[in-house]
Amino acid sequence: MSEEKKFFTRMGDGSIVYMTEAEIKDDIRAGVMDAADRGKIAPLTEDEMNHIYDIVTMPGGIVGVDPKDAIVTSNDSGSDKISTKCSIPVDRSINAMIHERVLGADSVDIGYSDYNYKTVKGVAKREAGVLKRALSYTTMPLFYGAMPNLGFYTKPDGPVDNWAVLLPEGKIKEAMAAQEEAVDHAVRDIVFVAEQMYDAGADGFMLDTSGAAGDADFLVSLKATELIKEKFPDMGVEIGMAGEFVLGMHGRLKYNDVRLAGLYPHQQVKLVEQAGASIFGAVVNTNCNMSFPWNIARVCTFIKACSEVATIPVHANAGMGVCAIPMCENLPADIVSRADKCLIEICKIDGL
């Protein structure tokens, strides 16, 4: 008896695995059901699951979409990647030109190598100089970007008590108060930086990896966006998330009467819209121990639900370790292109 045909695919850590048709279809269904159960959202249809199977098993290294279905790209710390990741010493304004004229990017953000607003505040006017130089030479839209990174506001580097120390000591009220105080500091810093970037001519302002320190971190992005849009209505804001689920490090924080802890992408996007942001960067975590078919099916279930309820553009964050992209530095184009095709054709995303 001949051995059943197996298809090349990868695990969530990028390692190669060969799977049969039945194994792939079982993993797709399990991924869909996991997302539907966690997010309390509708599962994908049979046709959509079959379409994922077709894309996973499609011949060829790189797959693509119909040219008319092409979407646009935004990114985080994009203008610093060539310098920091590849160690090629290029000024960030030149980096932006390379992204535009060599790599064909639709936009890029100027970001400091220490990519957080607390650090940037001290050098914001100089950062605005880099942005202004880049804006003079490039045609595509440019963002200024960084992370709210609320953890940086804790002692000994920051002004407030460290809630990660207070919580294990049982000092719950103190930990909650520390986070609330940190929110005020972070919002103030972000709005200060936004003002410098608006004056330099920024097209957009990026709040990247929002929620990394939990619900208070996400609240910072929402509150800062509200203030930025009030002061500079012509400058768009993109809020990109840190993970699929807002961690309840505080647990009781609300925005417009909605508790932030525990929100999934289809719920996060509604608050992002209310805050006034132009673009929502949705995230679903990659599970390294599961296959690509499992991961991408789970991703598509979450992102489809998000895209369906959104009234603003949704950019799926498809970088290392998120949205079914493997958790490895050198990303395999076979999986990246398949993940992108699934996100565009099934989830109807607006950008990557």
Binding site: P67, K68, A70, I71, V72, T73, S74, E100, R101, V102, G104, D106, S107, L135, S136, Y137, T138, T139, M140, P141, L142, Y198, D199, A200, G201, A202, D203, G204, D234, M235, G236, E238, S278, I279, A310, T311, I312, P313, I349, D350, G351
Partner: protein, 86 residues
């Protein structure tokens, strides 16, 4: 991308808006050959820059894009302020 940032348009609406403003079809605005010619003819800027003296790129291209798409581009507005053009 500019329509997403400036007007919060979703991708299909944004493509239709650009196509209508430029008098093109969706297929044409997604086609690299067609758009290279359009961008060159209308001075919207291209990846390739030669011949330099006749090429538009950066700020001069953004002036033309803002007018063609009927949108405000922040860097163009700031440039006009600094240059005493408004």
């Amino acid at each position: 991308m500019r329509l997403q940032i400036a007007k919060k348009m979703r991708i299909n609406e944004a493509k239709q808006y650009v196509a209508d403003k430029l008098g093109l079809t969706i297929e044409e605005i997604c086609d690299v050959v067609t758009m290279s010619e359009v961008r060159e003819d209308r001075g919207f800027g291209l990846g390739n820059f030669e011949p330099n003296a006749e090429a538009n790129i950066g700020m001069e291209a953004k002036f033309r894009i803002a007018e063609a798409l009927d949108i405000k581009i922040n860097s163009v507005e700031r440039f006009k302020e600094r240059a005493g053009l408004k």
